[in-house]
Amino acid sequence: MSDEVIESVALHPTSHATGHVHRDDEASKMGMWLFLFTELLLFGGMFLLYAGYRFLYPDGFKAAALEMNSFIGAVNTIILLTSSLSIALSIAALQKEQKKLSIALLVFTLFCGLAFLVNKYFEWSHEIHNGIYPKGPALENMSEGEILYFGLYYTMTGLHGLHVIVGMIFIGVVLAFVVKNKISSTNYTRLENAGLYWHLVDIIWIFLFPLFYLIH
């Protein structure tokens, strides 16, 4: 029986029994998940508002969505899905001690995040140029439903964009840790947590895309 104990200590370097390592990877990940739930409920509230108003103003939402360029939306969806792949691969690469590949994949993930934001910038500029902003010439002539649609559109994609920026900062910090070997093949929970956050941002976009771009 004592053999089993020794073995379990050897198998779990995170255990306090080893004395010099005070780390709990499971708890760290669980903390991240709890944070993600608060994020889900934050966006959840907005999705609820969206659902309620879309139910009340189906025609207004349909008319407003015609303004959207679903091609850019689809491209941005692919960009985010690809960045989710690259950060997942980056973790796998680090686990296999392929540090250079891991770093390259993280840089690629950041590049995808930037590409997403650049697309978003052009989209918003186009809409603002067309007079769709508070007190803007186009918005003044719109129906209630259309105005609500654009209010929700700017708020939800804006908050999502903010999350993309925060995710990129998170990944940037984690990238620096990987370069300095502070995150390694035996200690990569922070990288995993950055990945979890990034995937959540991806999931939110998975729902935003059909709800704002593909209404018919």
């Binding site: 692919i78 989710s84 792949l85 709800l211 018919h216």
Partner: protein
């Protein structure tokens, strides 16, 4: 599905991740084309079902939920059920006004 060396982590191969990504891209293509077909009222249902399928893939494989301890799965289930209850109750109110 073997538990590897240093921690209890399940290591996935590059190939699996790429397959999941291909699935996600395919589902995106399906959502866009279905929306173009104009099925009327079921378009929204189809779009939401596909988005849910994509979320399932991202959570299980990219976020590793499939290989986590049961306690993570319970947490996630509680959170999602809470959200579904919120939506259902709101629509009870909206539909019967």
């Amino acid at each position: 599905m073997s538990n590897n060396t240093s921690s209890e982590t399940h290591h996935m191969s590059y190939g699996t991740y790429i397959m999941v990504w291909l699935g996600l891209v395919a589902l995106t293509a399906i959502t866009v084309s279905v929306a173009g077909l104009n099925f009327g009222s079921i378009t929204l249902t189809v779009a939401l079902l596909i988005a849910t399928a994509k979320t399932f893939l991202v959570m299980n494989y990219f976020m590793h939920v499939k290989f986590e301890h049961t306690v993570f799965k319970i947490f996630i289930a509680v959170c999602i059920i809470t959200f579904i209850i919120m939506i259902t109750l709101t629509f009870f109110d909206l539909s019967f006004r």
